[in-house]
């Protein structure tokens, strides 16, 4: 896992008003990379810059400073899009088209031949479970169905990189489970996935690495397992035993005495949700603090 699929260098986006005055710094000097074959999560509260980052990577916005390379090409080079699939947060699909027409339309945009286009469309419609509704216009679809056809259009070109903006948003628990399962399948097929989400349990479930943004600054960045590790405490895991007060008092001895067996002994982890809230709270408490590459702890600027 050493090939960088995405790399940003001091990527900055400042929005200006009509008179050219600075209105908002949406992203400040972002330095991250995404490796081939991983699921990378972008986290942050509303307005933190995660959607701006995605839009910059896709060429929907142009950087004010810095640059980003996607699949080795600048973001302004539309040729990179040959290998990208994108599912936006809201369904931006044309509601007057049917599911089949939608996939056919986006397939044409990838310049895919007719027969191949039809084959892929049929395959994807089956994969997202919309065979029975393939002839209906999308205006008649529910939010969940639109999300499914949205994902199908993102995969019509068999992309190397899939970018998903809030993929589980608006889905019921079963739909969310299905979506997460599909994202894992994409990784297993060798695709790289970048997703941003508010649902922290989803990110914890499926992401290999994450970046946490707050008010345009990178606050945390790295492997999920490493970031969630609490180095000041030890964790002891035991099984086939009932935990009593006595047991707590004399842990290691008691386990042995009561005939149990020690499964693991190491650092316990907190939940991603707790960690996320802690990071955001710290960021609010110390304005100007930001994550610097190769540093384990966030530094004050």
């Amino acid at each position: 896992m050493s090939n960088k699929v995405v790399e940003t260098r001091k990527l900055t986006k400042i929005f200006l008003d009509f008179w050219g005055r600075k209105k908002k710094t949406a992203l400040r000097a972002l330095d991250i990379h995404v490796e081939e074959g991983e699921i990378f999560g972008l986290l942050g509260p509303n307005g933190s810059g995660k959607t701006t980052t995605i839009k910059l990577l896709l060429g929907l916005l142009y950087p004010t400073e810095g640059e980003a390379l996607v699949l080795g090409k600048p973001t302004t080079d539309v040729r990179k899009n040959e290998f990208i699939g994108y599912l936006p947060e809201e369904s931006y699909l044309y509601r007057f088209l049917t599911a089949e027409e939608t996939l056919d339309f986006y397939g044409r945009l990838f310049d895919i031949e007719g027969a191949e286009r039809r084959r892929r469309a049929a395959e994807l419609i089956e994969r997202v479970g919309l065979q029975r509704d393939r002839k209906r216009q999308l205006r008649e679809y529910s939010k969940g169905m639109r999300q499914r056809i949205g994902l199908a259009q993102a995969l019509i070109n068999n992309p190397k990189l899939v970018i998903l903006d809030e993929p589980t948003s608006g889905l019921d628990p079963l739909g969310a489970y299905w979506m997460k399962d599909l994202i894992r399948q994409l990784r297993d097929e060798g695709k790289t996935v970048i997703m941003c989400s508010h649902r922290l349990e989803d990110v914890q479930d499926i992401c290999d690495r994450i970046a946490i943004l707050h008010e345009g600054d990178l606050q945390a960045y790295g492997k999920v397992s490493t970031l969630l590790e609490d180095a000041d405490r030890l964790e002891l895991r035991a099984s086939d035993i009932k935990l009593t007060a006595e047991l707590k008092a004399e842990l290691a001895e008691v386990i042995r005495k009561h005939g149990g067996k020690l499964d693991s002994f190491g650092h316990p982890t907190t939940t991603l949700e707790d960690y996320f809230l802690k990071v955001v709270a710290e960021s609010k408490a110390r304005p100007g603090r930001r994550f610097l590459a190769d540093d384990k702890a966030p530094q004050a600027r």
Partner: protein, 633 residues
């Protein structure tokens, strides 16, 4: 002997275009100067905003080429700067100085045209370079996919309902439009084309103005630009889709209108106008009048026609003013006909009342380049029984027997022996093949003539109604309407790449309206309009003052009048970029009057329209390329 025909001749205030005019050096150089001026301004503004960095990032040959083009474009940019300063030039001119709408803003010698045109071409190439570099990546499949999407969008959003109202006008309009049988077809054609023009242009402009802004608003464009789609493909796709839909509607309406006219028109009207006459026009010049190009001026407000009087006493005896049409060539096939019909519609300017129900007598003589009066005289002496046909064939001379008279508001005709046209095929090709000379025989009347008031019929004048030829002509007029649609849809679409639907639609409409009132804009620029310039007129409206009354000599009025001069210069500058739509709008007149639309004229107008649209599309390409599709979140 003249025959009076019931139809009127065409009044063409602008000469029909000829292909040779369009592909001539002056036209091309003028185009390069106008478009190049805009392009060079854009290029250098882009350089000032940091474009040098992009040039620096180019490699080898590409960089050298861009630098060379920049060096070539520099003179045009300097001219642009000078022109911008020249806009304020009228402030330093005397109050009564004349501003010309056509003269260059910066006076310069004629020889500078070609070098500056080359500089303009370099500027255009610089602006077009990114687009040209993109060309190999364009995919017809993607363009057609977006076109198909626009098409489906309009169909499924039920835009076509807008046309059903139009169909009602076409089908039942004649119930409400009373017309004389002689005007019947003319009225039908006018109503059909007027209704088609208004509805098609409005709906076309609305579709063009709403597509892209709606995609940006609903963010559907996010999904398109994140595919390997070049921005220009979006523009071309939208244009193709909208045009495809409008073409289908235009074809359907043309078919319905045509069917209705052909089946509904009365036999008399069909006999008169359900045809496509092919007029052969010559070049008009006057002799023994105050102006060789314009004849005498009788003080009519409409300066379309020049006038000749009857014989007048000059310093050295009796002088006969005459108007003559010369034909460099005439078609050889006319020589094989028994008779070729000449038709004319002249205007009478009376200095005395004249006689009731009696027209004005004119002298009409048609000669070929081989005519020798002396030879004819000898031949007549030798054989007094020479027929007019023999004289025409052998001596290249024809004069109608008896008197030729004509009436106001009607077309006269004379049958000319075909032999005259056979004779005109021979002789020195450097001389005009045929000359038609007209004189006025009445000393107290003036006869007014314009170039298009006299013509020979290249088609068979004896044929009755010709529905097929009429239908072909009708289709050509529909094609002219299609060109206008292309124009308005392209311009509105380009505006919609940056502006909202409403603003794009309004600006597209304003541009088309200004294009239709170009003459008025020119008058405004040249200070010929009543009540002074735009600002002065606004003041007059506020003050409720009469246009003819001079403004009082106050500081405010002086400021207004001086500012008006700058406004007029700016308007004059902008007027150069207005499209030529009047010519395209005139074609239904040809059809209604039963005259064939000239193929060369229409082709010329098509070329002019396409070349007008190209810089707009280039602008749209750059606007869409630079545009950030997404906004802050």
């Amino acid at each position: 002997m003249t025959t009076i025909l019931p139809w009127a001749a065409l009044s063409l205030e602008r000469d029909p275009l000829e292909l040779a005019q369009i592909v001539s050096l002056p036209t091309v150089s003028n185009y390069l100067l106008t478009v190049g001026a805009l392009c060079s301004l854009c290029v250098f503004l882009w350089l000032l905003r940091g474009g040098f960095g992009s040039v620096g990032r180019l490699f080898g040959g590409a960089r050298s080429m861009v630098l060379a083009l920049l060096a070539l474009a520099l003179p045009m940019f300097l001219l642009d700067i000078a022109s911008i300063f020249a806009l304020f030039r009228p402030l330093f001119l005397p109050a009564d100085a004349v501003i010309s709408a056509n003269a260059p803003l910066v006076p310069r010698p004629e020889w500078t045209n070609i070098p500056l045109a080359i500089s303009g071409l370099a500027s255009i190439l610089l602006v077009a370079a990114p687009f040209v570099a993109n060309l190999p990546r364009l995919s017809l499949r993607r363009i057609l996919a977006i076109a198909n999407l626009s098409f489906k969008e309009a169909i499924r959003k039920r835009v076509l309902y807008a046309f059903t109202g139009l169909l009602l006008i076409v089908l039942f309009g004649s119930w409400f439009i009373p017309s004389k049988p002689t005007d019947e077809l003319r009225t039908y054609v006018s109503v059909v084309f007027y209704a088609m023009t208004v509805v098609l242009m409005l709906v076309g402009a609305l579709l063009a103005a709403s597509g892209l802004p709606a995609d940006i608003r609903t963010q559907s464009l996010y999904l398109i630009v994140t595919k390997p789609v070049e921005r220009v493909e979006i523009l071309l796709g939208r244009l193709t889709g909208t045009m495809a839909l409008m073409t289908l509607v235009l074809l359907a309406l043309t078919g319905a209108g045509l069917l209705y006219i052909i089946r509904g028109v009365s036999p008399d009207a069909a006999e008169e106008s359900l045809k496509a006459r092919e007029p052969l026009f010559g070049i008009l010049a006057f002799k023994n009048t105050s102006s060789e190009a314009k004849g005498d001026n009788v003080g009519r407000e409409w300066e379309y026609r020049g006038y000749i009087s009857g014989p007048t006493q000059g310093p050295s005896g009796l002088v006969t003013p005459q108007a003559s049409w010369t034909y460099a060539t005439v078609p050889a096939y006319l020589g094989s006909r028994d008779k070729v019909q000449a038709e004319f519609t002249f205007d009478i300017y009376r200095t005395t009342k004249g006689f009731e129900n009696r027209g004005v007598g004119i002298g009409l003589v048609i000669t070929t380049r081989n005519h020798d009066p002396e030879e004819l005289r000898k031949a007549r002496e030798k054989n007094p029984g020479l027929t007019p046909e023999q004289v025409a064939t052998d001596h290249g001379f024809f004069q109608p027997a008896g008197s030729v008279t004509f009436f106001d508001y009607s077309t006269g005709s004379v049958a000319v022996p075909g032999g005259l046209f056979a004779n005109a095929q021979k002789g020195d090709p450097q001389k005009p093949a045929l000359t038609v000379t007209v004189t006025c025989k009445e000393s107290t009347q003036y006869v007014g003539m314009a170039r298009y008031d006299f013509y020979f019929r290249a088609d068979d004048a004896r044929a009755g109604a010709q529905p097929l030829r009429f239908a072909g002509n009708f289709l050509l007029a529909s094609f002219a309407l299609w060109l206008r649609l292309l124009l308005v849809i392209s311009v509105t679409l380009v505006m919609s790449t940056e502006l909202s639907t409403v603003i794009s639609l309004l600006m597209g409409m304003v541009l088309m309206m200004l294009a239709h009132v170009q003459e008025f804009v020119r008058e405004l620029v040249e200070g010929k309009s009543a009540g002074g310039g735009p600002l002065e007129n606004i003041k007059r409206i506020i003050d409720n003052s009469v246009a003819a009354k001079p403004l009082e000599d106050t500081a405010l009025n002086t400021l207004i009048q001086q500012s008006d001069k700058v406004v007029r210069e700016v308007l004059g500058g902008l007027a150069r970029f207005l499209p030529e739509v009047d010519r395209l709008a005139y074609y239904p007149e040809y059809v209604g009057n039963g005259f064939a639309i000239g193929g060369g004229d229409l082709a010329g107008n098509a070329i002019v329209t396409v070349f007008y649209i190209l810089p707009w599309l280039l602008l749209g390409y750059h606007l869409l390329r630079w545009r950030e599709v997404a906004g802050p979140t």
